[in-house]
């Protein structure tokens, strides 16, 4: 096991790949330490899935090179394949077949004999809470169950590196938590996980390191803490009672926080980032002081909130453009329901 958890699981240099006019990968560099969860964070169309497909030997890069556990993904694809597994964004299992049949099929393709494949399938179904669903066709599974059978199929041969492409997109919160628990168990056991996600909190919860991806390249990389502090660890939203007080409130906040304050379209609302670089105080402490200063200045605050920076805010800070266009985000929320 020690062999599996040292060194780099993935090294990629300058990967490029275009589809017609679209440059999906525009020189992507990645270094993923073995034995960790590594998050690729970015909006739809950022190039996350293309990167995963190149690294999983499904797609050839136009340029650049990538190695998985030291094996080149193009020249030594077969060696890479024997050590990785992929759970794609879409079902990577046969929906016409039952859960058991899917797992036995893959077990046999990995070289298990009939009885051993059947035994392995039963073990996996038990561990993933799918024993009763095992004899049903996968197309009759709920979204969460489908994800689980998909991941179960991916760890059939206990891979050294597991690719999870947006494993929780479209899942309800409970199913999402289940997937998170499974990912934690998988990495605790020594498997490296490369996870793509659109959600900062998911990357935050699971990943040891995160690469923020936009337009086919990595625009920021680091631990979740490093990334957040580069953006500010929190955002304060305020709503005043009286719009006339907003100019005063802006001055007070600016003085208290030492950061630029944003005036929202709503004439009563203000937003500011707190807990950024160069501040010794925790975000909550800064916010509390700012609130006290406001009340001392006689400014009435009707609504106050302190939140983590959203993916949108991280993106705005890093790229000056929002992560997900608003209409697209609505569609995603719609799909998630």
């Amino acid at each position: 096991m020690s062999k599996r958890t040292t060194g780099l699981a993935i090294e990629a240099e300058g990967l490029t790949r275009s589809f017609g006019e679209t440059r999906a990968l525009a020189g992507m560099d990645l270094q993923v330490p073995a034995g960790t969860v590594y998050g690729l964070l970015g909006p739809n169309g950022a190039g996350k899935t293309t990167a995963v497909r190149v690294l999983a030997t499904l797609l050839r890069p136009d340029g650049g090179r990538a190695r998985v556990f030291g094996h080149d993904v193009v020249a030594e694809a077969d060696k890479v394949r024997s050590r990785v597994s992929l759970t794609g964004q879409y079902a990577s299992i046969d929906e016409d077949l039952t859960g058991i049949e899917n797992l036995v099929l893959l077990g046999r393709l990995l070289g298990l004999r009939k009885a051993a494949a059947r035994e392995r399938a039963d073990q996996l179904l038990t561990a993933f809470g799918l024993t009763e669903a095992g004899t049903r066709q996968v197309k009759k599974y709920s979204g969460g169950m489908r994800r689980r059978i998909d991941i179960a199929a991916s760890i059939l041969n206990t891979p050294d590196l597991l690719f999870l492409d947006e494993p929780t997109t479209g899942l309800d919160p409970r199913s999402r938590n289940q997937v998170w628990e499974i990912v934690r168990a998988v990495v605790a056991h020594g498997t490296t996980v490369l996870l793509t996600t659109q959600y900062l909190d998911e990357a935050d919860q699971l990943a040891g390191r995160i690469a923020v991806v936009d337009h086919g390249r990595v625009i920021a990389e680091g631990t979740p803490g490093e990334l957040k502090s580069s953006v500010g660890s929190g955002t304060v939203h305020l709503r005043l009672r009286d719009a006339a007080q907003r100019p005063d409130a802006e001055k007070v906040l600016q003085a208290a926080l030492g950061v630029p304050v944003q005036l929202e379209a709503d004439p009563l609302a203000l937003t500011a980032r707190v807990g950024g670089e160069g501040s010794d105080l925790a975000a909550s402490e800064q916010a509390a002081r700012a609130l006290a200063d406001l009340s001392r200045a006689g400014i009435v605050v009707d609504d106050f909130s302190l939140g983590q920076p959203s993916l949108d805010e991280v993106f705005l800070a890093l790229t000056d453009h929002p992560a997900v266009p608003a209409d697209e985000r609505d569609e995603q929320l719609e799909a998630a329901r």
Binding site: L97, L105, T131
Partner: protein, 284 residues
């Protein structure tokens, strides 16, 4: 079938992932040796059988379609081209069997295209197995459909009065030749299934190839009645060789020249389109 479905009698409860349970399945056992090329192909063939079991409607096109073809053409042309439908059938049945089965081969491409669309091939293509296995296994499953279609057509023919001189052995040999050719010809469709974007375009291209190929042959009428330029094409057409060889086998004789041409064509299809298919499969 299942000891697993009966072990738990309680109502479905919320799944709580347990670290211990997951740890047991994650413990790395011996990595078994990778399966042989044939073993992997047969496993993929088993998948095709399971799909037939779960979605039996897909057999509609290998049963109903051939029956319609036989009935339609026997009574449409029988009176005009021979003294009676029954007489025509002695000449026509091997040909319509070839036409129907060869037309069914296009579903190999359609099926592959849908499979790829759904994402399951992403998993297959990341498995460390013999690369063509997924496709060979798929065609193994299709071969079963070809045999089924051939038997359905033979049965309808026998009911309508087809009496082959070759007997059981001759008929089996004829179906054997047909299956060999269809297996080889299926690789044309795996290639198009990989190259074309949608199921619809695969269907479109298949029809464009299959109609001239099956109709401009010796299936329906004697080629000596055709103009010279058409005869030249008909003579070249692999379907003509196949029909001649199958007719001979079912008629209790043999036709070594046409059989040889048919086998050469089959080998050519596998070599050329098998290679092209695998090139596309690896390079998507």
């Amino acid at each position: 079938m299942s000891d697993t479905a009966t072990t738990t009698g309680r109502a479905p409860s919320v799944y709580v992932p347990s670290a211990e349970a997951l740890a047991t399945v994650l413990a790395p056992g011996e990595r078994p040796p990778r399966p042989s090329a044939l073993g992997a192909s047969l496993t993929f063939g088993w998948r095709a059988l399971l799909k037939i079991k779960h979605v039996p409607e897909q057999l509609f096109d290998v049963t109903a379609f051939p029956i319609i073809m036989v009935l339609m053409f026997t009574y449409l042309f029988g009176g005009a081209l021979a003294d009676s439908p029954r007489d025509y059938l002695q000449f026509f049945l091997p040909g319509i069997m070839v036409t129907s089965v060869v037309m069914i081969t296009m579903y190999t491409g359609v099926g592959l295209n849908t499979d790829i669309e759904k994402g399951i091939f992403d998993r297959f293509r990341t498995l460390p197995v013999w690369r063509p296995a997924a496709l060979v296994g798929m065609i193994f499953g299709d071969v079963l459909r070809y045999v089924l279609a051939a038997v359905v057509i033979l049965s309808v023919g026998l009911v309508l009065g087809f009496r082959p001189d070759g007997g059981l052995v001759g008929v089996a040999a004829g179906i054997g030749l047909l299956v060999v050719f269809s297996f080889a010809f299926s690789w044309v469709w795996t290639f198009f299934g990989l190259v074309l974007r949608s199921e619809k375009s695969v269907m479109g291209v298949s029809m464009m190839v299959l109609f001239p190929l099956t109709f401009l042959s010796n299936v329906f009428v004697d080629p000596s009645t055709m103009p010279g330029w058409l005869q030249a094409f008909v003579k070249l057409n692999p379907i003509t060789h196949l029909v001649a060889a199958v007719r001979a086998a079912m008629g209790g004789t043999s036709d070594p020249t046409n059989t040889m041409w048919l086998l050469l064509w089959s080998a050519g299809f596998v070599v050329v389109f098998g290679t092209l298919t695998m090139y596309r499969y690896n390079r998507r």
